[in-house]
Amino acid sequence: MNQTRLWQWVVRYVLVVLVTLVSLFPTYWMVSMSFKPKIEWTTASGTVYWVPRNPTLENYENILTEYRGKVFRAAQTSGIPAMRSSLIVAIGGTLLALVVGTLAAYGISRYHRSSGDFPWYMALGRLILMVLILLPITLAWSLLGLISHWYGILSLTIVGFFVDGLVGRFLGLIYRKGPVGNLAFSILQLRMFPPIAIMIPVMIMWSSFRLVDTSYGLILIYGIVTFPFVVWLMKSFFDEVPRELDEAAIVDGSSTWGAFFKVVLPLVKGGLASTALFVFILNWSDFLVALLLTNRDWPTIPVYLNKLVTADTGQQYGPKAALGVIAAIPPVVFGIMIQRYLVRGLTFGAIKK
């Protein structure tokens, strides 16, 4: 009995260490690469450098300073502007997503009752009906010369808002199980759609709002892309606060807003903070959107990493690894801080431990 337990113990430890090594190795390789001088970057010299033999800070210096003839890179700038823009844009997007998402989450948690449980032909029918009704309106807008301006796009969106409500009610009459269309569910469905598929119209919209390659543009799109996570996460936190609390506050004479701000919100403070960090990680990690919506002024770190070109010397493993290390630090630190909530965030609040 004792021997089998010892064996179990040994096997468990060997497996745990193995798993840990595998999950650590690529990260370790990048970190060690960032300290290696050029000769140690590849095995071209015949030996493999598992640990940097002559550790150097040259790579970090390269990435943090202006072009000085050592490395030929994108626009010959240092990585600092990219870091600054990543930071500003990720924080801005997070704030926007938090404000919009938290309000919506409270609304959904307290006032929404439709289940979103409808078959695919209803979901599709809703989209098709909406397009059929709105296409003539779009045409009218473009004949009126409105569509080329930002206010044309905004007003068209508002019209679409009402048309969608009508379509939802109309389909609800046919389907007879309540209105078809549910905010929370549409939000979730949106997450499944590859973002690149809507990037063409987004680029059209953003250029007509003059938002391409600006921080505001990225903040707006990041807010839109990540607020679904806030909605689902915060909804799961709000659902844990008993309704009786807000009711009691209202009975005691507080307004509905007061009940929300003074009673409920302080109770989910912790949840709000971890949601903020979680969304920050998501925004910080984005590559695709920034790749398409920025070029010279506001490239974020991943875009800069992708652009960091090499001319005469081949792949610049060292400086790129240094940049990768810098990019990886904030999300890893925050991620470890909010370990408990990572699952909840990434499963849209469906799993709460």
Partner: protein, 328 residues
């Protein structure tokens, strides 16, 4: 939310007798205080959602029916695209484009290999971490690091690791005894394997976390009873754990499927869809057609086909996520 409506503000808001508490105009508009409050709360989110759905959807449909793109037609703007109207030839092209369907098939293949692998490894890891052992917390934190790494950076890590002159080949050389020079990222099959490896590396921790949370929540009494009755580990797993874990497993698989379906960053950083489009997924395909070849109308048509596909899949796949939240 099927609790009995003891909640006057929430559940009964819509049924409050009109004109009792609010002004006449408000009640005529159907705007009770609570409904107005609810609308104010969800309004911005709803508007943003429509902002990003309605106009893009309309534009995509419109452009997809023409042959317009920013570089063709001598500076014609997108709203004048009707001058290039061609009655849906793009759709014919999409449906007959081998490239597109290969990208769709490849995406499903990558998802179909990577997600089950992540599931199996994650399940194994969850069992490893189920019982207490010294140092568990530290190992637990380390094991989670991959999922926190920026995906583009993770792609670059694997780009370095899978270099012909990189550490994987060096390790293989050390094992074999002679110099190994496998061209991981320039061989069509191996490049796909490398991408799957990167995805598995990055996202197994998520599977592990979800499954571990499911296993930890398992009622201990039943486990103990089964052990006392002499059930083997396999029997316990098959007849006790699996049925109880089922909802968690479904959620884990659905979430991973959803996200893996969009895979882009790692592919771009590792192979850029190459060699010769051998690793092109749906997202990379659309990036290449839309933003490197600048064929916007064709890409728009492809995007709509994907939209229909995803809507159908999503309405089945997302149900398990919807329900646990609703039943709280």
């Amino acid at each position: 939310m099927d609790r009995p409506s003891t909640a006057p503000i929430a559940a009964n808001a819509a049924y409050a007798p009109p004109g009792q508490r609010e002004g006449r105009l408000q009640s005529w508009l159907g705007l009770s205080n609570e409904r107005r409050f609810a609308t104010l709360l969800t309004g911005p989110a709803q508007y943003l959602l429509f902002f990003i759905i309605v106009f893009p959807l309309l534009t995509v449909v419109y452009i997809s029916l023409t042959s317009w793109s920013p570089t063709t037609g001598g500076g014609t703007m997108w709203w004048d695209a009707y001058k290039f109207w061609d009655w849906g030839r793009n759709y014919v092209e999409v449906f007959s484009a081998a490239d597109f369907w290969r990208a769709v098939g490849r995406t499903f293949l990558i998802v179909g290999v990577a997600v089950p692998l992540e599931f199996l490894i994650g399940l194994g890891m969850a069992f490893l971490f189920l019982e207490e052992f010294p140092g568990k917390r530290v190992f637990h934190s380390i094991v989670l690091i991959p999922m926190m790494i920026v995906p583009a950076v993770a792609g670059y890590m694997f780009f370095m690791v899978f270099q012909t002159l990189g550490p994987i080949n060096a390790a293989l050389s050390a094992i074999v005894g002679s110099r190994v020079e496998i061209r991981w990222l320039t061989d069509p099959t191996l490049a796909n394997l490398a991408i799957i490896a990167a995805d598995v590396w990055q996202w197994t921790p998520l599977m592990f976390l979800i499954l571990l949370s499911g296993l930890v929540g398992m009622p201990e009494d039943q486990m103990r009873a089964a052990t006392i009755l002499g059930a083997s580990f396999w029997q316990k797993f098959r007849y006790l754990m699996l049925p109880m874990l089922k909802p968690v497993i479904i959620i884990a698989l659905v979430i991973r499927f959803m996200e893996a379906f969009k895979i882009f960053d790692a592919v771009m950083l590792m192979t850029q869809g190459g060699p010769a489009r051998a690793t092109e997924t749906i997202s990379v395909f659309m990036y290449r057609e839309g933003f490197q070849n600048v064929r916007w109308s064709y890409t728009a048509a492809a995007a709509l086909v994907i939209l229909v596909l995803v809507t159908i899949i999503a309405s089945y796949a997302l149900k398990p996520i919807q329900s646990p939240g609703e039943n709280q």
